[in-house]
Structures are given as structure tokens and as C-alpha cells.
Symmetry: C2
Subunit: 162 residues, 2 copies
DNA sequence: ATAATAACGGATATAACATATCCGTTATAA
DNA sequence: TTATAACGGATATGTTATATCCGTTATTAT
């Protein structure tokens, strides 16, 4: 199993948006260029973020994306779910009911113990993602970005936002 | 993202094997029949379990699969990894290094904070799966299986093991 | 010995999903 | 009026999961 690559893209893009001067917006085109990503496909992911309210969008020249709420109030989990969708990764198909020994559906109460255990693990995963704020991501990212890259980025965005 | 359906199959099958009288083995054919699963495909998954030592196999008539070690010493995590493979779900493609502002690879020390956060969540997931033993799965399963199904199952396996 | 069973590995076919592009539409700013 | 940019829908492509089939080897029962 592999997580959607768009998750990595979306988190990085949100982190950039979190560092944007208030009032400014970045179009998907610029974000794609900055990370060397396929423009149209990234645009699709940005639309998913927009639908969830994580970013707000404005059309037309000078338009683009900005954060939909403060970076302290966006969890890594929010971004992951926006891209990956809300469905649990483990899907119980109730094979315990199938086959020659299965009995009527109404004999089974709660979901089977195997599914419950798998879902508990998924809850632990989500909880961990829920603890991380976009602000933390942004801060750590800034701290750990090489100086040279930081300068190049500032210059590039300076030009881009002209 | 969706987890391999074979995980559900494998855990259920292991749970059956854990209830098998010592010395007995069940062929993939019988397991597939019992859960109404595609025989050859299930056989592939059983081979994965075998490669990891979770089950041991014996060829020829009367042969089949049995647990490779006591159910108390097999974690749900072991089964999940045997089927799903050891690779992490989140794969960092290092897009931070790409694009016009990226700098030389050796300027980047540890993996980026986003990947680290994603991997922390995955560790939480694995930890939770590591806490659950096959013996617990088996016990819970037995307790929650409808009486009628239990009787049918015993009869069916009785015939099957003749 | 011979026949039947069953795991095993490799090759292949099919279905589902992720990845990626394209197009027409709408909104908006210059 | 023109250019920009988000948006939604349709489509193409690639990759992975699902599923089957085959020949081989080991083993048991006849």
C-alpha cells in the first residue's frame, strides 16, 4: 500500500502558503513551478484543499490560493484527509459471514474483532497526525532549510509575486 | 488509499489455524472454501505468511498450513507486514530539493519534517498493531461468533479433516 | 511403483486506482 | 476587452491489486 503522493505535495504547498505575507495569494501554477510538479495535477489537489476549506481561493489575475484559516488551526491530519479522502484504509468485507458456515446477517452484532483492531490502529495514526499543526511544519521546515535555498526561495517568490 | 484485502483474509485464516488441534494442518483449498475466497489467490497470500515463518507448511495429502509459532507470539502487525510488505506507506520524494530554489543534495541533513511527522504516525499505527496478539484475535473471535455458526464450523471442519 | 494431494514459484490476464492532461466555463483584475 | 486563474468534467496512461494458470517438487496413500 502506498499513500497518495499528492499528500506530500499538498503539505509542502500549505507550508509555503503559511509563510506568505497576509493578503497575498499564490496560484497553483507558481506552486507547481516552485516544486517542479505537474501543474494541472497539483491544481486538482489544491481544489481538494479548497473544498475542505483549508485554503481559500481567488480567481483572476493576482489571484490564487492562501490559507483558509491560521496555520495553528490546521492539522497535518486535515490536509491528509483532504487529499486521501475520509474512508478508512482497512475495509472489512465481513468474510466471517461467508462460506458454508455463515449464518444470517442479523446474528452478527458489532463489527468483528479483527476490523476493530485494524481501526484502532488507524485511529492511533490519525491521532498522531492530528497533533501536528501546519504551524509546526512550517516552523521546522524554515529552521531546517539550507540558508542558500532560503535566499533563492525568497528571491524567486519576490519575483513571482511582482 | 486502501489496504490490501488479503490482510483481512490472512488474519482470519491465521485465527482459524490458531484454533486447530495441535499437529493438524489445513490446506489453502479448505481455508478458501470455508471463507468463500478465490483459492489460488488466497494460496499466494498463505505463501507470503509461510515465507515470514508465521505459518509452516507441509506438502502432500494431509498436508497444508499450521501456525509457525504459538498464537501468543504472533502479533497482528506480523501478519499485516507479511501481506502488505515492509515499505512505509508514506514515501518522501524530497520535492523540497526540486525546482528553481533547490540546492545541492548534500546540503540536506536528515529527512524533512513532513516525512518525519508522517512516519511518526505510521509508527503509532504499527505500535498499535504490535500490541494485538493472534491469541487475542482468536479468543475475541470465538467469543463473538454466533453459536449456530460455531456449531456449523465445527461440523464442517470435522468433515474437512477426515 | 503409481496416483493423488498440496505447496511453491513464475508467468500471465484483468480490474481498480493513481497519475496526468485537456477542455470549456466562470469569475476577476488590469 | 484581454489575460489570468480557479473549477468541474472528461479522458488518457501507468501502476498496483486482484485473480488465474501452469509446471515443479515433496509427500502421503494405495
Amino acid at each position: 500500500m502506498k499513500l497518495n503522493e499528492g499528500i506530500e505535495w499538498a503539505v509542502h504547498c500549505c507550508s509555503i502558503l503559511a509563510s506568505l505575507p497576509p493578503g497575498m495569494a499564490l496560484p497553483a501554477r507558481k506552486l507547481a513551478e516552485f516544486f517542479d510538479l505537474p501543474e494541472h495535477y497539483l491544481a486538482k489537489h489544491m481544489q481538494s484543499l479548497s473544498q475542505q476549506g483549508l485554503v481559500s481561493s481567488s480567481k483572476g489575475p493576482g489571484g490564487g490560493y492562501r490559507l483558509g484559516r491560521p496555520a495553528t488551526e490546521i492539522a497535518l491530519l486535515d490536509i491528509v484527509l483532504a487529499i486521501d479522502g475520509p474512508a478508512p484504509h482497512f475495509r472489512c468485507t465481513e468474510i466471517r459471514r461467508k462460506g458454508p458456515s455463515g449464518v444470517d446477517d442479523k446474528c452478527y452484532g458489532k463489527p468483528c474483532g479483527i476490523a476493530r483492531a485494524m481501526w484502532r490502529a488507524e485511529t492511533a495514526w490519525r491521532d498522531e497526525l492530528g497533533k501536528v499543526s501546519l504551524e509546526e511544519i512550517r516552523h521546522t521546515g524554515l529552521e531546517e532549510t539550507p540558508h542558500e535555498q532560503l535566499e533563492k526561495s525568497l528571491a524567486w517568490f519576490g519575483d513571482a509575486l511582482k
